[in-house]
């Protein structure tokens, strides 16, 4: 990697060298190790392990619950971002700061308190469980945990976009006779959509890998409430390294593809910028 064009600033070689070195030691070589180890098994073996019934069930839950969690966040995150940017109400600054809470709270603590809240004798569970809504130890618990950890992504992606959204554009629509709903759907929503989708993708990506909060609240039953990262841990505990690695490779590839998608989304989101 060589700096294109002449650039008078110093330190490119040094900083780039450090970056590549650090990146290699911490990320690239260990991940490379995983792939190398996976290459030791045959393709058929890999395929068998990566698509075993139990693994498929785990993917289904992981991706399904992540998808639902991210969708909930897309809807409510949009409302939250809208309310926080547009309206004044008491406690607004507090709620605004609180949005980052899932970023800051260790996932184990999140899982602990969420499972406690939704358990039959918890603050919410005591009302919900008699209604048949079992939050703890069910796939629903997985959705709850993944919604919690993904919550900041949509809000924080959308907020700056909404804040920099020119009010004049909405006013222009109003002077042309458009009502609020019409303005929202034909002018505002299309502008916000890329940010919402990006936030959704970020929440989704985060949810797929999530472990700490989920294992406390999910029942961890195979085929039912067992997420893919947990299955990796279980395979490890069964001394089944190859199966664990096969699953890990699947998750890694998915993560990488998601990252690329997110980068493309961000580029797409800025397509109307000059």
């Amino acid at each position: 990697m060589i700096a294109k064009r002449h650039n008078p600033l110093p330190g490119f070689g040094l900083t780039m060298g450090c970056t590549i070195l650090y990146l290699s030691v911490i990320v690239l070589i260990p991940i490379g190790g995983l792939f190398l180890r996976t290459l030791e098994m045959s393709w058929a073996d890999f395929w068998r392990l990566a698509t075993a019934d139990r693994a498929l069930a785990a993917y289904k839950l992981t991706f399904g619950a992540s998808l639902i969690g991210a969708s909930i966040n897309a809807v409510f995150g949009t409302i939250v971002a809208w309310v926080l940017v547009r309206y004044e109400f008491p406690g607004k600054r507090f709620f605004d700061a609180l949005v980052d809470f899932p970023f800051a709270l260790p996932t184990a603590v999140a899982g602990l308190t969420l499972s406690n809240l939704f358990a039959a004798n918890g603050w919410l569970g005591q009302f919900l469980v008699p209604m048949g809504i079992k939050g703890s130890f069910t796939p629903l618990g997985v959705v709850i945990a993944l919604t919690f950890i993904g919550l900041p992504f949509v809000v924080r992606t959308l907020q700056p976009v909404l804040e920099s959204f020119e009010r004049e554009v909405e006013e222009a629509a109003a002077t042309l006779g458009a009502g609020r709903l019409r303005t929202f759907f034909s002018i505002v929503a299309p502008t916000l959509l890329p940010a919402i989708i990006t936030g959704f993708a970020l929440a989704f990506a985060r949810a797929i890998g999530e472990y700490g909060s989920v294992i406390f609240i999910a029942g961890n039953k195979p085929y039912e409430s067992e997420i893919a990262p947990l299955l990796i841990v279980i395979r490890l505990e069964e001394y089944d390294y190859t199966a664990a690695m096969a699953l890990a490779v699947v998750l890694l590839v998915v993560s990488f593809l998601l990252l690329i998608t997110i980068n493309l989304l961000e580029r797409w989101a800025s397509r109307y910028q000059t």
């Binding site: 990697m1 690695m245 990252l259």
Partner: protein
């Protein structure tokens, strides 16, 4: 990701916006939905941690925290953060400098690679170190012969934590450094300042809030990491149990209130993180506004001729 949210336009919304505002009913409904959603998903879990921690009284609370294993876990967690945060900060500054101030081939690939730990499951992060350094892994036998312990010891926990918190500082700094551009540094160079001096006196002050912000997030995550550390820790009480692992251990030992007591410390850490973050944003905003005011004053001061 993470997002340094600007609050610059807030004042603009203070004006009345007749004709482009929702009816009070819709407004109230949206605020209500937002409030309810945040209360159920954020506020209740937070309060619950403290309520459960103190459910059996302050005495038990203090006793759980003063237990030697808890103290050891707190110490280890601080120790890990003290190793991880400076290293990732240093790296973050290096990466941000190279990426923000220079153009080169493969830049977007590099950024994607830096982002990778955000998306990789912590469990996979732990696993790759087991494969690298475990006795059944690549370097394990060699390390074992030379009596070097990586996993199931502090270095392994630190490595796993570094991996997971790796992008925070870099990702916060890159956009800030890109936004400030190169002119300031070039100006300093033309004035004869050396590279180090330029960085220290010109670059760093202009990105200090972004840097601090990244450090705070990195620290919060480093102290709270569970999945990756769980895989490489070995769970030796008083030796390789970090606070989150200790929470799990206590929880599994029927010591609910004690588990929540340690958890409450972590929740407190989260609150402090949020507080600092809000403070930083406020400071940044104030600095920005001051700059705006003096700019307007300068503009107003100019008489039209």
């Amino acid at each position: 990701m993470g997002g340094n949210v600007s609050r610059m336009n807030r004042d603009a919304t203070a004006k009345s916006q007749r004709g482009t505002e929702e009816s009070p009913l819709v407004k109230g409904l949206l605020v209500g939905v937002c409030g309810l959603f945040l209360a159920v998903f954020l506020l209740l879990p937070l309060i619950n941690v403290f309520a459960q921690a103190l459910a059996k009284g302050w005495q038990l609370y203090w006793a759980s925290l003063r237990e030697p294993d808890s103290l050891a876990a707190i110490k280890l967690t601080l120790q890990i953060a003290a190793i991880v945060v400076p290293l990732n900060t240093l790296f973050g500054v290096c990466a941000a400098w190279a990426i923000a101030k220079f153009e080169f081939r493969g830049k977007s690939l590099l950024i994607t690679l830096i982002d990778l730990p955000f998306a990789v499951s912590p469990v996979v992060a732990g696993l790759i170190y087991v494969i690298m350094f475990g006795l059944q892994g690549y370097l394990g036998p060699w390390l074992d012969r030379h009596d070097i312990q990586i996993i199931f010891a502090v270095p392994g926990i630190a490595l796993a934590t570094i991996f997971v918190t790796f992008p925070f500082v870099a990702r916060e700094l890159i956009p800030v450094m890109q936004a400030t551009g190169r002119e300031q540094e070039e100006a300093a160079l033309t004035l004869g300042a050396g590279a180090w001096r330029t960085f220290w006196h010109v670059t760093l002050p202009s990105v200090k809030w972004g840097l601090l912000y990244g450090i705070i997030l990195c620290n919060a995550r480093a102290m709270g990491e569970f999945g990756a550390v769980s895989v490489v820790s070995g769970h030796v009480s008083g030796v390789t149990n970090t606070m989150p692992l200790h929470v799990e251990k206590l929880y599994n030992e029927y010591q609910g209130p004690a588990a929540f007591a340690v958890a409450s410390l972590l929740a407190l850490l989260a609150l402090v993180t949020l507080g600092l973050k809000t403070l930083l944003e406020w400071k940044q905003q104030r600095e920005y506004q001051n700059a705006q005011v003096s700019a307007t004053e300068a503009a107003v001061g100019r008489q039209p001729e």
